[in-house]
């Protein structure tokens, strides 16, 4: 596993760093929130991201992408995390692009991948249903009906679902059997509820009431989607961990900047050893989080046999570190940390959402212990 960036990766990291700081800083998120923006992200920004190649990062060159892989997606996500950038990167460019690349037939790939890469089509990935992430407990059913299938059930926490052009929906097609379907959100019987989350970003809930799809809506093998879903989720987990690390590192930076300046008892509060030690501890934890993120992204790209374990360990660990960064950040800011005016609260909120997405620390700890046989 490569834990140090090579020249190409460094270049990408630098260009992403400049791009997001310039085009999508924290105040852009504030504007979307305060204007109660219908879309929840800036479509011009998404087009610019596509022009940069970001939307096609997981898509091969034959289908209009730049085929740079997980490490590249992660490096982009770190920068988005630092700036709290809202965009359909994770939903469309990472999860859905990976799902279609891995499972789609040639005509599905030709139809959707170039448009995802160009930022023209937004596809959301609908997996969760209950309060908690539980990909092995899908209850939305798809029953054969005529030439196609009928879908019944519900989905929740579908990021960017309310503005999606297509949904990839995981459905139960028998005992222990799962199938992925491409579904038009405007299909009859399908109800969408936009759910604005604590981080001012988008998700949606869906109710499926006898939603009919054709046989060609099936993505991948019928009944055999479980391993594809797991593979897609692992890419998502690694990339969201990267975003979560970026948000935490930035929360830490603004907090240490703050304690260097703020004065109480006639001196900078950063002089107090209690705060110094907690900051040094957090620095250490963040360095660990960074190593985990890089190791996982690299393991996915090289097809390391243990990549799946690494990703789960990473999501578990980075979730804990990020939580600490958010909580300590607010505490060390004192009263102003509780105000909407200061950015630290926005980081705390985004971190909470990324902790939950695709399985929180407890979910992955449990999965790892089970897999290791204890």
């Amino acid at each position: 596993m490569a834990l140090v960036l090579n020249e190409d990766e460094k270049m990408l990291q630098e260009s992403a760093e400049g791009f997001f700081a310039d085009k999508a800083p924290v105040k852009a998120l504030r504007a979307l929130r305060d204007n109660q923006d219908e879309t929840g992200f800036d479509r011009t920004l998404w087009k610019d991201m596509a022009d940069m190649g970001f939307a096609g990062v997981m898509i091969d060159e034959d289908h209009g992408g730049v085929d740079m892989g997980c490490m590249a997606a992660g490096l982009i996500a770190v920068e988005m995390g630092k700036n709290l950038t809202a965009s359909p990167f994770i939903s469309s460019a990472v999860l859905s692009a990976t799902a279609i690349s891995k499972a789609g037939n040639e005509s599905q790939k030709a139809l959707y991948l170039p448009k995802i890469a160009a930022g023209e089509t937004l596809i959301a990935f609908a997996i969760d249903e209950g309060r908690k992430h539980a990909p092995s407990k899908i209850e939305l059913t798809a029953e054969r009906a005529g030439n196609g299938f009928k879908l019944n059930g519900s989905k929740a926490m579908v990021i960017d679902g309310h503005v999606a052009d297509q949904l990839i929906v995981a459905a139960k097609t028998g005992e222990g059997k799962t199938t992925l379907f491409l579904v038009d959100p405007k299909a009859s019987g399908l109800e969408t509820e936009r759910t604005i989350m604590v981080d001012s970003r988008n998700a949606a809930r869906f109710e499926f009431d006898n939603v009919e799809v054709n046989a060609d809506a099936v993505l991948g093998e019928i009944d055999e989607a479980e391993s594809v879903i797991e593979a897609v989720l692992n890419v998502g987990r690694a990339v969201i961990s990267a975003e979560m690390y970026g948000a935490s590192a930035q929360a830490f930076k603004i907090t240490t900047d703050y304690i260097r300046e703020r004065k109480q008892f006639g001196t900078e509060i950063g002089r107090f050893q209690a705060l110094q030690h907690r900051s040094s501890h957090l620095y250490t934890e963040l360095e660990l989080a960074k190593s985990a993120v890089l190791a996982s992204l690299s393991a996915l790209d090289t097809g390391d046999l243990k990549a799946s374990d690494y990703v789960k360990m990473t999501k578990a660990k980075v979730g804990q570190v990020a939580k600490l960064a958010g909580v300590e950040g607010v505490q060390m800011h004192g009263g102003v940390g509780m105000t909407d005016e200061y950015d630290i609260g926005l980081y705390l909120k985004r971190i909470r959402v990324t902790q939950e997405l695709f399985g929180d620390t407890h979910f992955h700890m449990e999965a790892l212990a089970k897999a290791a046989g204890y």
């Binding site: 596993m1 834990l3 140090v4 240490t256 304690i259 260097r260 001196t267 900078e268 950063g270 002089r271 050893q273 705060l275 110094q276 030690h277 900051s279 040094s280 501890h281 620095y283 250490t284 360095e287 660990l288 989080a289 960074k290 190593s291 985990a292 890089l294 190791a295 690494y310 360990m313 990473t314 578990a316 660990k317 407890h362 700890m365 449990e366 790892l368 212990a369 089970k370 290791a372 046989g373 204890y374």
Partner: protein, 392 residues
């Protein structure tokens, strides 16, 4: 095939042929580690043979230059060697403060004569070193040290006391911090000297620890004559060397956090058994999972930091981060081991408990976050040198 592939193949074959079977079993404790030195009693002929074979190849110190007894390997080659050794479970042929601490400092600050005199015997495991840093009045505040070193024309004269000197009673030589200027600011009157523990006036008295063992000593110096050739670096400039050496020491101590050969959950399952495929205590199980995740992430961090640094270079203040996290993690691991062991882990003398091994090991780990600078001191260093917080 690249050169590295060839090197890997040859290394594998060489190890296969030369590493005795006995040296491929897990280390059970201190008694299985080879420390070398004038008076060292090898625990088995295989241990002696393994040391000599590896030393002849320069592989007790793979990255040191050949002229000083090293293997002259590049960083990547050394990594390949370590991997191949790990694969067959080969033990480290030599554990030594000379390798972990003094060697890197001499390579950077020693003169040519000092390197030629001291490095090869370290590499061959012939001379065992101890570290004379701490004193009764100079622990965390190391620069407050007061052991006096006077210039007597053709030699130095050393008087004073060190404490917590690990293995002073078994070491052949000591690297020692002494005060050579009592009027200068505390960091600016310190020098770094070397001398033989058999010199007249040196006395080491073992101290008994909570583990019941006596790995370290109070060390007294009364009119100890030291040759001027044994001053490393310049007079009164010893602090820089002392700090550089500490970064290597911390890297080494922190490395323990990466964990032991057997994962904690396996040990716990062996002790407590499984019910429905799970450890019977769900809260303990969760903490074990957490500790194992941390151990993996910590391991990745060590690898990343070593990759980022140049071969043989010090990690600087990041060594404090590794030392802090690794030692706290190791303490956490042994607390969990005690939790899983129940009352059998509390036995101190029985044969069943292998002479109280679990409890004694657990107690030993408490020193991890004290030796080489306490956790609090490491956090101070991070605040000062990395975060650059005011007044740190």
């Amino acid at each position: 095939m690249t050169d590295l592939d060839v090197f890997q193949k040859e290394t594998r074959a060489w190890l296969e042929e030369n590493c005795p079977a006995e040296m491929r079993t897990p280390i059970r404790g201190d008694e299985d580690m080879c420390w070398g030195g004038r008076n060292y009693k090898f625990s088995s002929p295989a241990q002696k043979q393994w040391l000599e074979t590896m030393a002849a190849k320069g592989w007790t110190v793979p990255t040191w230059p050949k002229e000083y007894g090293g293997g002259g390997l590049s960083k990547v080659e050394a990594k390949v060697l370590a991997k191949e050794m790990h694969k067959i479970g080969a033990r480290s042929p030599l554990s030594s403060f000379g390798i972990w601490m003094l060697g890197p400092a001499l390579l950077k600050f020693g003169n040519e004569a000092q390197k030629l005199e001291h490095l090869p015997p370290i590499a061959r495991g012939e001379i065992r070193w101890c570290q004379g840093y701490s004193e009764p009045g100079a622990g965390s505040d190391l620069a407050a040290l007061a052991t006096k070193c006077e210039d007597k024309g053709d030699h130095f004269l050393v008087n004073g006391q060190k404490v917590w000197t690990s293995y002073a009673d078994q070491a052949d030589w000591i690297f020692c911090l002494v005060r050579t200027d009592f009027n200068a600011k505390k960091h600016e009157g310190i020098s770094f000297v070397l001398f033989d523990m058999e010199t007249k006036g040196v006395e080491a008295r073992p101290i008994k620890l909570i583990s019941g063992k006596s790995p370290f000593c109070e060390t007294f110096f009364e009119d100890v004559k030291v040759s001027k050739d044994n001053l490393v670096g310049e007079l009164n400039k010893g602090w820089t060397i002392a700090k550089y050496l500490l970064t290597h020491e911390r890297e080494m101590i922190g490395g323990q956090g990466e964990g032991v050969a057997r994962p904690l959950h396996e040990i716990a399952a062996g002790l407590l058994g499984l019910e429905d495929g799970k450890l019977p205590e769900p809260m303990l199980r969760a903490k074990i999972a957490e500790a194992e995740i941390d151990a993996w992430v910590f391991g990745q961090t060590i690898h990343r930091k070593l990759e980022e640094a140049k071969a043989g270079a010090s990690l600087g203040a990041d060594s404090s981060m590794l030392k802090y996290y690794g030692t706290e993690l190791n303490k956490r691991r042994y607390e969990l081991m005690m939790d899983a062991s129940g009352h059998e882990g509390l036995e101190w003398e029985s044969e069943r408990s292998n002479g109280g091994k679990t409890a004694r090991d657990w107690l030993r780990t408490k020193g991890n976050s004290i030796e080489g600078g306490t956790s609090e001191v490491q956090l101070n260093i991070i605040s000062k040198h990395i975060l650059q917080l005011p007044g740190a």
